[in-house]
Amino acid sequence: MTGGVWRLEWRIVLSRPGRLAWSVSVPVLLLVPVALSGAADAHRATVYALFVVFFGLFGAAAPVIRDAERGWVERVLLTGCGVRRWLVERTAAHSLQDLLQLAPALAAVIWIEGGARVALPAASVTAGALLALVAANLVGTLVAAAVRSLAEGALVCAGAGLVALHLAGAFRPPSPGSWQETAAAVSPFRPALSSFRNLAGATDLWGSAASVAGWGSAGLWTGPAAATLLLIACAWIGGPWVGRRLTGTDNHF
């Protein structure tokens, strides 16, 4: 039944109110001090983006690794729902859940950074964070399929997150005309990074808040959105491999 995995994932997360409250509180407790810290604008923005990306990556990989180890993934796939459907519906559900869990922290950061004057950056932060979370959830699930333990998964996620943010231009502005500039332009993590920079008042490759979030910015979002769709397509094509990896050797779902 279409939407069955989506509904199941929402029921699971809503049935654990304590864990949900914890998942909402931790980002608030970690990001608010950063917003109040008086650190350099660009550094604060990088920390926000880093947190969102890691939240999505670890939040996807760790539960998938644990569920695969205890046989839950195999249980779900043995229903015949199809690994590709599982992958897409699970990623969609978890990306939205991650965004909702991050919402209070992001709202606090937006309020501290700009008060009521930040409607435009706030909108682009939300959209950028969602795009980053979708990509991070997909990558996190693929990492979970590739590794053999939770520790290995954490290590690979940390490495992948840092590389992804570096390619988005988080740690060093790419030279004009270089391949790094192209990579940054199509990175699914770039909109979140640029939005946080605008919010924090740091200069950004893409320009001002208006140029990032305004109607004229469609071209700036096209590359990252296309890259995210490409990631989804890769996950779709690699679905059977993911199924084999997550359910033990040789399973074909």
Partner: protein, 317 residues
């Protein structure tokens, strides 16, 4: 052949080896007919669970061919309900909701899925606890939830891996009754395990698996008929049996030492329990101290020993 007469699964020449090169299955041929309960017995590591996964369509064997429901693997997962060695659930959700949601993933509409979940959880004695989170369930209750899910799925093929594990007597009885009911309705079932009495009770045919090979296949009566004696005499000695007690001895006529496991000797006796006094006397002469003696009819355990050449279970000394 009409669809009704077609076997649920036909497996030919199934071979499979694990990554480390260890063979799990070697040229296994097996047909699972509609309306039958097929038992698969074998010691730990003999390939029972691997065979079940192959039949489920969840494991692609290295060699051989599996035909399910007269076709390929397409849609086979939806038509197959499988209970594997673990019983994982969404622990924070109630048992009833776990079963309902997993049935929905199989394409069962919501209201019907809820009805089926209530019915089968009730049959397995979980009506009072079906609203509690699975995290609060014991191992046996998780197993019952798993079985309720498998029966509620009402698949054409039901595959149960060691279903008796952690089940209480009432649930075993429900399971046996439900399997017979399913068979009458034309459903095919494969069940693995070690419980000789249960297998004899519910299975129409039993396959003996030894080191990944099919050692024997037949009805329980046929298999038990292959045991030489009309009785099995089990003698429990105090402490492990010394070689001098068991080996190289002359036993009463018609009595054969079938197996020795630590301090437990298993004899097959052609003339039933009549040779017991003579047998006991010879053991005492050899210096053995007898802790207990049991005379019983041969069962599938004995048949496995006779046909596969090794005991079904190795008991700790």
């Amino acid at each position: 052949m009409t669809p009704r007469e077609e076997p649920a699964v036909r497996a030919e020449g199934i071979r499979h080896a694990w990554e480390e090169g260890r063979s799990a299955l070697r040229d296994v041929d097996l047909v699972v007919r509609r309306g039958e309960v097929l038992g698969v017995m074998g010691p730990n590591g003999s390939g029972k669970s691997t065979l079940l996964r192959v039949l489920a369509g969840a494991l692609e064997p290295d060699g051989g061919r599996v035909e399910r429901f007269g076709g390929g693997a397409g849609g086979a997962l939806r038509r197959t309900a499988t209970v594997l060695d673990r019983s994982p659930f969404a622990d924070s959700l109630p048992g009833r909701e776990n079963v309902t949601r997993l049935l929905e993933l199989r394409g069962v509409p919501g209201p019907e899925a809820r009805d089926r979940a209530e019915t089968w959880l009730g049959r397995f004695g979980l009506a009072d606890r079906s609203g509690d989170p699975v995290a609060t369930y014991s191992r046996g209750m998780r197993r019952k939830t798993d079985l309720a899910l498998a029966f509620a799925a009402a698949g054409d093929l039901l595959l149960l891996d060691e279903p008796l594990d952690a089940l209480d007597a009432a649930a075993r009885s429900t399971l046996a009754g439900s399997l017979r009911e399913r068979a009458r309705a034309g459903g095919a079932t494969v069940v693995t395990g070690h419980g000789a009495a249960f297998m004899e009770d519910v299975c129409d045919r039993v396959a003996f698996l030894r080191a990944g090979e099919l050692a024997a296949l037949g009805s329980p009566e046929e298999l038990i008929g292959a045991v030489e004696g009309s009785a099995t005499i089990e003698v429990e000695l105090v402490g492990p049996a010394e070689d001098g007690v068991a080996e190289g001895r002359e036993w009463p006529e018609g009595v054969r030492l079938a197996a020795r496991d630590g301090g437990r000797l298993r004899f097959s006796a052609r003339d039933g329990g009549a040779s017991l006094p003579d047998l006991s006397a010879r053991l005492l002469e050899a210096g053995a101290e007898i802790a207990g003696v049991r005379v019983r009819s041969p069962d599938l355990d004995d048949a496995f020993l006779a046909l596969a050449g090794e005991p079904l279970r190795r008991e700790s000394p």
